[in-house]
Structures are given as C-alpha cells and as structure tokens.
C-alpha cells in the first residue's frame, strides 16, 4: 500500500502530515524534519518518498499548488485506469492556513529562503497541528476499517 499526502507543496503541510503518519515528528521542531521547506525538492513534481511504516506502507508527499481536489480526482482516476486497486494508492489532501503565503515565498532568492520558509511555517503551522493530527488519525482509522475488512 502507498499513502500519498497531497499539499500545496511536497515540503510543507504534506511533509508534516507524512511525518505524523509515520510517528516521527521530532518535538515540533520543524527544522529537524528532513527536507522541510526545501522547495528545490518540490520542483521535480515527482512524489517524494518520506518513509515506510511498520506494515511496509510507503508514505509519499506531492505538491499540487492550489488545485488539490482536482489533482486528487485525477490521481484516483489514474489509479483506476492503470488497473490498480483503491488500497494500492490512497491519496489524502492536506492543507493549513498559510499554505498560500508559503507559495509566495518561493519567489525569494535561494540563499536564506529555506530558513525564512522554516521560520514562517513554524509560526503558522504549530497552532494548527492538533487539527492535522486528528485528520491523520481519522485517515489511519479509515484505512484499517476499510481495507482490513476488505482483506478479511
């Protein structure tokens, strides 16, 4: 199974969500998260593998700008067209207030951009983390209910 967190970028909210899913968010210190606010990683537009959980589920992030719902729809259609089952790829959109501001910060020159991204993202996102934690817990519940029932 693969879980893909779809955010404005692959290196902000979606990366936080992936780390929460993998239970490896280090003391709310975003700068310790590998690749956080590293916008260069988002340029490729390819899914970014964050890690695997104990069940072997691969967790990815992907940046889709403002069109999260539309991109989720396309990826779910693509999964179908390619003949894959729904549990082969689960697409979850994640967003937090301030995501759009971070998109604007991409226009900053590369030197220091990562630092500014990290600082602003930290200030904006920390108060919103409990909501993201709840969303991830709900997703895990949905996955275990829906797909373990399907397997049995």
């Amino acid at each position: 199974m693969k879980v893909l967190f779809l955010g404005n970028t692959a290196v902000h909210t979606s990366l936080l969500a992936a780390n929460i899913y993998l239970r490896q968010l280090p003391d709310l210190n975003f700068s310790q998260i590998k690749g956080f606010a590293d916008i260069e990683q988002d340029v490729s537009a390819y899914p970014f593998l964050v890690g695997k959980d104990q069940d072997g589920t691969e967790v990815y992030t992907l940046g889709a700008g403002k069109e999260l719902a539309m991109t989720k729809k396309s990826l779910e259609h693509l999964r179908e067209v390619l003949g894959c089952a729904p549990h082969d790829l689960i697409v979850e959109t994640v967003s937090m207030k301030g995501d759009n501001l971070l998109l604007l910060l991409n226009w900053l020159p590369p030197g220091g951009r990562k630092l500014i991204h990290g600082l602003i993202a930290g200030l904006l996102f920390r108060p919103q983390l409990p909501k993201l934690f709840r969303q991830i817990e709900d997703l895990k519940l949905m996955i275990s209910d829906k797909f373990s029932a399907a397997e049995s």
């Binding site: 991109t71 259609h77 390619l82």
Partner: protein, 159 residues
C-alpha cells in the same frame, strides 16, 4: 499503453488531439464545424469535468487514449501523472501529452467564453475558428506522439 492528452479545460485541444490520434477526423484537411462538433466532449464539458480522465477510444496499436482538463497546472501535470504512475510501478504504461502549447488566442478566448462563462453563442464560433487555425499544429503534435508510441510498441515486441 495509456495516452492522456491534457489541456486547460479538457474540451478543445486535448479532445481534438485525441480525435486525430484515433482517426475520428481526417488529418489531411481542416475539419468543418459539424465534424468538430461531432467529436465526443468537444465544447461540451462543464466545471465538474476538471480532473477527470475521460476515455476516448483505443488506437490502432491497441493504446488507450484519454483526455483530461487540468486548469492552469501546465507541464507540471505531466510530471505528476508520470511520477504517480512510477510509484505504482507503471511509469512505462503512461504517456501524458500537454496540448496547451499548441493553442492560440482564439481558442483561449472562445473556450473561456463558451465553457467557463456559459456564453456559447458568441464563444463557440470563436473557439471553432481557433481550432481550425491550430489544426495543423495539432496534427503535428499527434503524429509525433503516434510515432513515439509505435516505437515503444516495437521495442516491447523485440524484448
């Protein structure tokens, strides 16, 4: 293989490209209004269709041909589709083709008026004129894709 032609609305250039690919219209002459309007989905989509990968047919090499409207996501959408196909282990089976670089101002204005604003009577003639003007560019794009996919098919056979 799965070929996905995509453009802003998934209603004009991508649909024309798919129709050319599937030989639903003759590539050797500019199509008439009736011929263009007879193409499935041509100038008939709505907002709910954004993001939907819609089946158009199977070409003579056995490849499935689809169309998709991706708003202003540009060339990034091809990379996204290929990337997600690759994590599913099927990168070689998907060929996304961006049609937005072949459209002209008439198609943009006419398409926006007809599909986004719902002004069909002024928008449709403009988009039809633009489509005819862009026709040879679209033929060129589609022929390139057909050659590419024929080569891939040949490689698979050799292997």
């Amino acid at each position: 293989m799965i070929i996905i032609y995509h453009c802003f609305g998934g209603s004009h250039s991508s649909v024309l490209a798919a129709a050319l690919h599937l030989r639903l219209i003759d590539k050797c002459r500019i199509p008439t209004t009736d011929e263009l309007m007879a193409i499935p989905y041509f100038d008939k989509t709505c907002d709910e269709d954004f993001g939907s990968i819609r089946f158009m047919g199977i070409d003579d090499s056995g490849h499935e041909v689809y169309v998709l409207g991706k708003k202003s996501m540009g060339g990034r959408y091809s990379k996204i589709l290929r990337g997600v196909a690759s994590i599913l282990g099927k990168e070689d089976q998907v060929l996304p083709v961006d049609c937005t670089n072949r459209i002209n101002l008439f198609m943009k204005i006419g398409g926006f008026s007809s599909r986004r604003m719902g002004l069909i009577s002024p928008g449709r003639p403009i988009v039809l004129k633009g489509t005819r003007n862009a026709f040879l560019d679209m033929v060129n794009l589609v022929e390139t894709v057909r050659i590419k996919t024929m080569k891939r098919g040949a490689e698979v056979k050799i292997l």
